[in-house]
């Protein structure tokens, strides 16, 4: 009976997730481009061989990992602070909770276009500010050493509220009496954070981490609008490269190969992140023992 009830959602998953995945896997072993008249011709592992030798792919992969690692790390750190703040009772909290969500609610392309003018040299406000404090013009979007940081910044600004929202939901599931118990035992707020909040928040941190990691690894619209992958290709992401191959070059075979490789990689990365988090934050049962002792 339960099988029948699950059937609609299983069917849905099959159509929108498993189907395309198999199609990509199949296409990655075919030549299918404008030069073949958009007809798929089997070409063995030629696409995969090309991927292994494609310096540009490895450069993009490195850049994407750097972007995802730095931005997700910063986002989680800031989100935790914001969530802790928004969990406390203070005047105007509800208003701030609502306001904090605005960046996340904005369409990425709109906000990326906004940042493009904010970072603009010499007409943007940031350039005005750096000149005011005597640093001078920084050429943020035109210098390969700086531009990637601008993309990280724009991403952190936009998606920190999302991570904060998840963590806030987690914080609200923690019973207040646990904190009272620590206080009765003479523990300070720092012990509360380390022994109660973080361990109990772990599933939520994991959730936010996996969501954000997968999203950041596939970053596309932000980069496309903000920098177009430049300057000197220093901000090009794997997703952008796959997109260029598919829609601009009409090379669907190679584009599918890039997407398949990214899928396998992101699976491994998520697995590592999951295991890493298990080690980093002790489980609740362990920490309860510590409190007792």
């Amino acid at each position: 009976m339960t099988v029948f009830l699950l059937l609609p959602s299983l069917l849905f998953l099959l159509v929108v997730f498993v189907g395309p995945l198999f199609r990509y896997a199949w296409l990655s072993f075919h030549a299918d481009s404008v030069m073949t008249g958009l007809i798929a011709i089997p070409n063995g592992g030629a696409n995969w061989l090309r991927l292994v030798q494609d310096q540009r792919y490895w450069q993009d992969l490195g850049q994407t990992l750097r972007f995802a690692g730095v931005s997700v790390g910063l986002e989680l750190f800031l989100a935790l602070i914001i969530a802790l703040l928004l969990d406390q009772r203070w005047r105007g909290r509800d208003l701030v909770r609502t306001l904090a969500l605005i960046p996340w609610a904005l369409p990425t392309t709109v906000m990326a276009l906004g940042w493009r003018w904010i970072f603009n040299t010499p007409y943007g406000p940031i350039d005005y500010f750096t000149n005011l404090v005597g640093i001078g013009s920084l050429n943020i979007l035109g210098d390969p050493n700086l531009t990637w940081m601008a993309t990280v910044w724009a991403d952190v600004w936009k998606t920190t509220p999302f991570a904060a929202l998840i963590l806030l939901a987690g914080l609200q599931t923690i019973p207040v009496d646990l904190y009272e118990a620590v206080r009765l035992e003479g523990g300070n707020p720092l012990i509360c954070l380390r022994r109660i909040t973080l361990p109990l928040l772990r599933p939520y941190i994991l959730l936010a981490l996996l969501f954000r990691l997968a999203q950041a690894f596939g970053v596309f619209d932000l980069i496309q609008v903000l920098t177009g992958g430049g300057p000197a290709s220093s901000t090009e992401s794997v997703a952008l490269y796959a997109y260029w191959n598919a829609l601009r070059f009409l090379d669907f075979g190679y584009s599918s190969t890039i997407i398949m490789a990214s899928f396998l990689l992101i699976s491994v990365i998520c697995l590592i992140a999951w295991i890493g988090l298990q080690i980093l934050i002790p489980t609740h049962s362990e920490s309860r023992g510590v409190i007792k002792s």
Binding site: P122, G142, A232
Partner: protein, 423 residues
């Protein structure tokens, strides 16, 4: 008794009228052909009045509808390609950028048009507008508006615009020294298609050639190719162009020129209309000329838009009718006067009244005579991408002009070889 037959008669005649009109309506509905074109948003807006006129003139025969696509060229291409990949496109026609044509032709997405436009039609086009409409011996596109790279200069700062690259640098530096302007020359240095357009004008201007389509000879790593890249890089190094030009697209360059911060700008004809608006600080002080170059080599990158009929359309003849209307002399005059669109019919450029009212038309016509199309191959997107990557690296000093152009050449070669275009 009599009355009832009278009523019956009236009812019967009413019924007859009803049936007649229903049949007539049905026949009418069958004969009205509904034609749909996809255009980028600015073009859809600019042609709205023309479409209305067309539908009035063809009431009961053709109903033309224009789907308003995205704003940007590349987003437009994505939308068009996504719908074409589905098999049968939901549009009869598409307003297409010049660089898409070989790719679309190789993918077999377009209806050949040579049976509908004869030699006389082609001869009526301005010389520059005849380029970029055909591929592999077939006519696929009929130009709606011509577009080409132009050098904008400030008439209040100089009497004559510079003609050579060296002159442009000298004039800029002297103006900057006198604090007349912050920057000499603003252009498109962002890593995107616009950079390829800028570079094409310079490599041809130095007497070279990016890619010869007939024998696939690559000229990027030859002297003119390296000189062109080095010249652009030196503009930044010498402070003639701002550092930030490495992220400038058309809007950023226009902004800088419009507020009066730069003496020269490279841009398309649309900028002229923008610079005449009331919020422009340089209104009335702007001139247009062709790009600086070695004597006799001045070149304008061709960037025109034209209408195509997509394969599988059930309304080919009606679509052609609509294309003919949108591109005829009176439509082109209207588009030029209201929206500043460069005409494609030679007769519009020769119109004495129009030339008197809008003297700038002569400059547009002049630039249209030196246009050059970007390499016409289905692999253009890849080739241009390889080039802009290296150019962006050169401009940001990640590599030298010589090394960058060597890499661009070898990558272009690889693309051509792996596609079987070259041995």
């Amino acid at each position: 008794m009599k009355q009832s037959t009278f009523i019956k008669k009236i009812l019967a005649s009413l019924f007859a009228v009803l049936i007649c009109s229903a049949v007539f309506g049905l026949v009418r509905a069958r004969t009205i052909e509904s034609v749909t074109f996809l255009m980028a948003a600015p073009f859809a807006d600019a042609t709205r009045d023309l479409v209305k006129q067309f539908n009035q003139e063809h009431r009961g025969e053709i109903n033309l509808q224009v789907v308003r696509g995205p704003l940007e060229t590349e987003a437009m291409s994505d939308l068009a390609i996504s719908s074409l990949l589905l098999g049968k496109a939901p549009f009869d026609g598409l307003l297409m950028d010049v660089t898409w044509l070989p790719k679309y032709a190789a993918a077999g997405w377009m209806e050949p048009l040579e049976d509908f436009f004869n030699e006389k039609d082609v001869d009526a086009l301005a010389i520059g507008a005849r380029e970029g409409n055909s591929y592999d011996g077939h006519l696929y596109r009929w130009p709606l508006t011509a577009d080409m790279g132009l050098l904008y200069y400030r008439t209040d700062l100089m009497e004559q615009p510079p003609a050579t690259p060296e002159e442009l640098v000298l004039v800029s530096q002297s103006l900057q020294k006198d604090r007349k302007v912050d920057w000499g020359y603003v252009w498109q240095g962002r890593q995107y298609e616009g950079l390829s357009c800028v570079y094409l004008e310079m490599i041809d201007g130095f007497g070279g050639d990016w890619l010869q389509p007939n024998n696939n000879h690559i000229g990027l790593d030859l002297d003119p190719g390296v000189q062109a890249a080095a010249w652009l890089q030196e503009l930044i190094d010498q402070g003639v162009s701002p550092n930030a030009v490495t992220n400038y697209a058309e809007p950023e360059a226009l902004q800088s020129f419009k507020v009066g911060d730069a003496a020269f700008m490279r841009n398309w004809p649309y900028a002229w209309t923008e610079l005449q608006k009331s919020d422009s600080a340089v209104k009335g002080n702007v001139g247009i000329t062709t790009m600086v170059a070695r004597p006799g080599h001045s070149t304008a990158t061709l960037g025109s838009w034209g209408l195509t009929v997509l394969k599988g359309s059930a309304h080919v003849n009606a679509s052609i009718e609509a294309i003919r209307f949108l591109t005829n002399e009176s439509s082109q005059k209207q588009l030029f006067l209201k929206h500043g669109y460069t005409p494609t019919q030679q007769s519009v450029f020769d119109d004495p009244q129009l030339l008197q009212d809008k003297p700038i038309l002569a400059e547009f016509g002049q630039a249209l005579k030196v246009v050059k199309a970007r390499p016409e191959t289905p692999l253009y997107a890849q080739i241009s991408d390889v080039l802009t990557r290296q150019l962006s690296s050169i401009l940001t000093r990640e590599t030298t002009p010589k090394d960058g152009m060597n890499v661009a050449t070898s990558h272009t070669n690889q693309i051509l070889i792996s596609a079987g275009e070259k041995l």
